[in-house]
Symmetry: C2
Subunit: 333 residues, 2 copies
């Protein structure tokens, strides 16, 4: 009988999910609103809604199959415990909540879903780890035992695979490479510290860089007509492709910061390849070329010209669902 897994991608706005086989083929997909359940007290109703919708989805395909499990990618997810712990943008406290102990925002999602699915295996991990496992099962990291995944979105996520296994770390939260400090007393980061890699290398990071460069350089630029709040990374990438000097320099600088940081982390895990995934990585040569150059320029001699810098093989609108479903196949290996 065919074997399928459900992959679930929990975002702040929507939760998307789909039925996926071991080859990464998607048989059915659906979506519910996450935003409809903004507060701690809404969490049980969210779980109810998600489970009902997943059951409807699982009955929507016309052939018999075995459901192998449910894999979930979500912010602040703890693989070991199956929890989502104090996520910034999910199930927040209300202004009027008297009890605001952080423990109330540790959500036992895996357990809560498994209960409604007769004990089906439910695994959760953060979005970047899910993308990493997706790359290993369906993507360009097939057969690789040691690689690094860098996901470039609003922030910078990462996943590390060594000896063929995901590094979750002792507490289940490993792979926060976006929070390596690359510039002492550098840019303010959402984490409360300064100079984290993701304040330079991410969609938000390159926008901050573009604004810094507009102050520093005199070159004319289309970007000068756009307010900070209106600018996004794709505009910078479009401008760079048209030869805009500031946009081009913003990409070069972003690649420099990423390349240097990658040269450093290569000394720790010595990967076969590093994959770039997500928004900024779609800028292609604009981001790959300077990253590669600065990575090699700063590489310790033993690692020089050994580590491949590659685009992810699971790009596309369903990447997050695929990545989450891959948790199940990775576990049954």
């Amino acid at each position: 009988m065919k074997k399928l897994a459900i992959g679930v991608d929990i975002g702040g706005i929507n939760t998307a999910f789909g039925l996926v086989d071991e080859n990464g083929d998607l048989y059915a997909e659906s979506v519910i609103s996450t935003k409809k359940y903004p507060y701690v007290d809404d969490y049980p109703a969210y779980v109810e809604d998600l489970c009902d919708s997943m059951k409807a989805l699982s009955q929507s395909v016309s052939f018999d199959y075995e459901l192998m499990g449910i894999g979930i990618g979500a912010p602040n997810a703890n693989y070991h415990k199956g929890t989502i712990e104090t996520p910034a943008n999910l199930w927040r406290f209300k202004e009027t909540d008297a009890d605001r102990t952080p423990e109330r925002r540790i959500f036992h999602l895996a357990e809560d879903i498994a209960r409604r699915f007769d004990g089906t295996k439910v695994l959760v991990t953060n979005d970047a780890n899910a993308a990493t496992i997706g790359e290993m099962i369906y993507g360009n990291a097939k057969g690789m035992k040691d690689f690094i995944m860098i996901t470039l979105g609003t922030g910078l996520g990462s996943g590390f695979v060594s000896n063929g296994e995901m590094i979750y770390g002792h507490d289940g939260f490993a792979g926060e490479f976006g929070h390596v400090i690359v510039e002492r007393n550098g840019r303010e980061c959402g984490c409360g510290r300064r100079g984290c890699l993701e304040t330079y290398v991410s969609a938000t990071g390159i926008k901050r860089t573009a604004f810094e460069l507009m102050a520093k350089m005199n070159a004319p630029s289309k970007l000068r007509d756009i307010a900070f709040s209106d600018l996004d990374a794709s505009m910078i990438s479009a401008a760079a492709e048209q030869g805009d000097a500031i946009a081009k320099e913003a990409f070069r600088f972003t690649g420099e910061m990423l390349g240097r940081a990658l040269a450093d982390v290569v000394t720790v895990t010595s990967p076969e390849a590093i994959f770039l995934f997500g928004g900024l990585s779609k800028a292609g040569k604009l981001i790959f070329e300077p990253t590669q150059w600065y990575m090699e320029e700063n590489m310790l001699f033993v690692f020089k010209n050994k580590v491949k810098l590659l685009p992810s093989g699971i790009q596309g609108k369903n990447a997050a669902i695929l990545g989450a479903s891959a948790l199940i196949w990775q576990d049954t290996k």
Copy 2:
């Protein structure tokens, strides 16, 4: 029947080796000169000498046992290939050597020894990785699945364990944390680059720091009477214990550099503990206190107050032999 392994520690001056059981008890030990065999052409004679001496050692114990294998710790060792590759201080080219292709300095040590020991299992890895596995098998990391070992000697070595396994990386050379760049355009490093962690955090690093501080500060200090070539880390540690302001500041600064670097690398592998091993770590509070303080001060919130900073449990004169022998027990697990 009792099971024993031979642990071999190859240094630039001597090669020490011993017979060790699974509990880390040493039954016999011996040593040969490495220095006697300085050149590429001397390598076969070195292997001969080492094998003869190991055979003599293995016959020197009075009870019957099974020899489970030979574990070797050596600079530039490649675990995957069983080789020692272009080591700086071993089996060098002569001035008069016409053929200086680097390939001639890739030594297939594991194979060459196994041949003389009837195919006994021979494993090699670098000194820091050997110490790491020693910590896991005999020391304070027993039962830990995720930890980091930092070895503080002339340089800074490291070993990373995740999911209960040593991270060797794709090419077998992972764990070169001493060469993470912590100061752009910083101190010159033996690797040819600048600002590597080990130029600050190591016996040599703290000496460089002490000299920088003698230039920067006006405080009187015993260290001002000692030439650069004569100063060693133990003198700085003795001075610090007597309240010498420059020596104390040198330790604080060393701890700051190490603590910051550890806070960064914790984001990658999220270890349960970090162990400090070797020379500088014996300075105790002098190095542990500032390292711990700066590590926590710079830690990403999710990892704060979670990671233990601990002294190695396999210190002492036989630590390197024990570490190397542990390779065999780790492999038969």
